[in-house]
Symmetry: C2
Subunit: 203 residues, 2 copies
């Protein structure tokens, strides 16, 4: 955040500084392929210093991903209307907030889902990601109770919702479907389809 005066880190909170610097770089760069040495450079420490706080780069990436999921959950909670006019209203607002989080933080979002198998990050997504999943589950459960949502296995409905929203977010980050030229019409149309698939036709 603030420009550190040129005196070297005597004893400051390097752990936090490394995380903040990395988050800044995630904001600037488009990919999450930043280098640990560059983080150390910007933080004003030697390239070996971060190893006193993180066992390796993957551990830092995992920490960043966790922070990302926390922020995403906060964004979704903030976007959820306290007195929703309708199921459609509620789902649409949450879904838009989700996609907006992704397009606002493309590198961080990509990092969050590059975790687990195959990529650098080694966190188990299950824990944090399911917290996001739970936001969906809660809405759907309430909708089923109120009768505005079809009585179907709720996990499947939530899977459809998460899958669709995650997919739209990824495509939007890639500049596909949702872009400046196209606008958010495809997203809204996709949400309509989802809501029609979830919604109870009897109402």
């Amino acid at each position: 955040m603030q420009d550190a005066p040129s005196r070297p880190y005597h004893h400051g909170d390097l752990r936090r500084a490394v995380i903040e610097t990395a988050l800044d770089m995630l904001r600037d760069e488009k990919g999450w392929q930043f280098t640990l040495r560059e983080v150390a450079r910007r933080a004003g420490v030697s390239h070996a210093a971060p190893y006193k706080h993180f066992p390796d780069k993957a551990a830092l990436l995992a920490e960043l991903a966790m922070i990302g999921f926390d922020r995403l959950r906060e964004s979704l909670s903030a976007a959820k209307p306290t007195a929703p006019k309708s199921l459609r209203d509620e789902l649409t607002k949450v879904a838009r907030a989700y996609v907006a989080f992704g397009t606002d933080n493309p590198a961080l979002y990509r990092l969050m889902y590059s975790a687990e198998e195959g990529q650098a990050v080694g966190i188990h997504l299950d824990e944090r990601a399911l917290a996001v999943f739970d936001v969906l589950l809660e809405i759907l459960r309430r909708g089923q109770d109120a009768g505005s949502i079809r009585k179907r296995p709720i996990e499947g409905q939530a899977a459809a919702g998460w899958g669709l929203i995650h997919g739209m977010t990824m495509l939007a980050i890639d500049g596909l479907l949702v872009s400046e030229k196209v606008g958010s019409a495809p997203l809204d149309a996709a949400l309509s389809t989802l809501v029609e698939g979830l919604g109870n036709p009897a109402t």
Copy 2:
């Protein structure tokens, strides 16, 4: 494919060999972060040789991504039933083939969608990816004509379909939702929701 005899590449088709070797490595490894030097090593040439056929690593990645989209389109065409029993049948089979392609080729699939902004690959997804998109459009168009699909803007419906299937595929690759323990039930349930959202309730 075949073990090259130990004599060095006199004049063989190194370009193809590099691509084949890279595809092999994509099959073995889980991420697409293979190194160009390792490709050269396995192909039995010096680490500088590939530069005679590709300007840089990104160019090779772009080529691989294009091959991936071609193969995906072939998989989808092959999976599309010639005489579908119903819209649901057709959509389900294509969608399952799509997800299966992703889980069978996780590294390649990730690479395909790591393109464009932010990541290493520099291809414009629009061209090839839209060929996949077109498979969906064709099914939906036919469904709307036959009356089995709601008359809604077809781009929005295709966006919903692509987004959901892409999202489910990504989550499946990450071991979320669709995994060995859980099975493909969430995928099928999500497809049901999609089909209910797309399908004409009048039929």
